[in-house]
Symmetry: C2
């Protein structure tokens, strides 16, 4: 019999936005190698074709600590994949797993597999709104006090670079997005482009290109499945003739080259 | 004969940090479908096993505008993949391609395929240093004036969230990193954890976990193949007993739960 800790391994797998084609090969191999697959039910659903026949343990939002503890325990003797939508290291399960491992003083073989996070998925559908320097901020105040989020937003919009907003409208506090837009308005012009992608790379994907001013009449279209990208000082709407094609944040080649 | 524009397509492919296992399936399929593959020689080298027999056009750093123009032209009648290391939409080729398309007023079928960017690759090797809100800033002043970079750094470190530094030491200006660390020091304690990953997921990968104070004696170990992650106000070194295992930025579960 294998001694505990010798055969087990815990993969923290980022599964990307929710389309199997955006999974990395490494994530696929980890799932294949695993006996147990744990995750939020939402993220497990789209993995169905890859995890048939596995021991699948479905959890739900708000149960992250229990899920981390259960995964670590199982990984003592089994190969386990704990999946996170997007990137396991960005609003994913990596931090809570490491915290639990540290506090319990146990050892576990561990590999963190990064995945495409929502900002990247949304950006790729909008054109090139991020391009260079950018900021990622979640408007969920479940784990971070709202006052702190407001301070961060103020500094972020002062940078003049694009800001990707995660969890723009949580059920508990539907007004967080409006407050964030007001803070943006103190630092950026009403004409600054804003892109919204809802259900990126999933069924019923929707892409909206508007401006900071235009967001006021689009607030109702945004929910917890949306990612909002607010442009920086150089961001502009990308057009072909009078058609809006997306959003571009130039990287600065125009300062050096003619094209 | 196909009429121009009907058969052609341009894929902007993010190829991740440089290990084929971190390529997405979608990126693989785009490469497979393409007749022409264009990119910086460095990124094409590791794709060798996937692009054998293709028309491969190698370019070099600094030739981004020409590479964009050539790709767009070829994509009028051929299926073309223009590859970027990391994510095509983050310090990659997406923005310059869209700018050229816009200025030339031409139409081209286009798909942008996101990839794992350096901040994510580095983070996954360090533990969970990003975890939630974070900032990405490049210290290269080739396309962005240094004064602007300094302003952004000041605001970024004021946010108290982790900051990932790309191009931490460019050949042209080796002192940019030292200046950035001085700005960090105005806002963050000397004990704040700093992680450096050199050649993430490539041969001779090196991982360094230190602090803002400790970076002073490690400057020489950092080059253009390194990504530096400077922790935020809550970031801490992740230990097992007296061993340093990595870096954790807690997401805030400790404010709500016991574990």
């Amino acid at each position: 019999m294998p001694s505990p800790g010798e055969q087990g391994k815990l993969y923290l797998v980022g599964t990307g936005p929710g389309d199997l084609s955006l999974l990395t090969e490494r994530a696929r191999m980890a799932l294949e190698e695993s006996t147990y697959i744990l995750g939020n039910g939402v993220y497990l659903d789209f993995l169905d074709p890859l995890i048939a026949g596995k021991q699948v343990i479905r959890s739900s939002m708000g149960k992250e600590v229990e899920r981390a503890e259960q995964s670590i325990k199982l990984a003592g003797i089994h190969v386990v994949s704990l999946v996170s939508g997007g990137d396991a290291g960005v609003y994913g399960m990596a931090s809570i797993v490491l915290e639990v491992i540290e506090r319990q003083g146990i050892d576990v073989r561990l590999e963190i597999i990064p995945g495409i996070t929502a900002a990247q998925a949304a950006a790729s559908r909008l054109g090139s709104p991020l391009s260079g320097d950018f900021v990622v901020i979640s408007l969920s105040d479940l784990l971070t006090p709202w006052e702190k989020i407001e301070q961060r937003l103020g500094h972020a919009f002062s940078m003049g670079v694009p800001v990707a907003l995660y969890n723009p409208r949580s059920r508990g506090r539907p007004d967080n997005l409006q407050k964030a837009l007001e803070i943006a308005g103190k630092h950026l012009a009403d004409t600054v482009p804003v892109g919204v992608v809802r259900n990126a790379y999933r069924e019923e994907e929707e892409v909206l290109v508007t401006t900071l001013g235009g967001m006021r009449e689009n607030l109702d279209r945004i929910d917890m499945h949306s990612t909002v990208i607010i442009g920086g000082e150089e961001t502009r709407i990308w057009r072909r003739g009078s058609d809006v094609r997306g959003i571009i944040t130039p990287r600065g080649y125009h300062r050096k080259y003619t094209y």
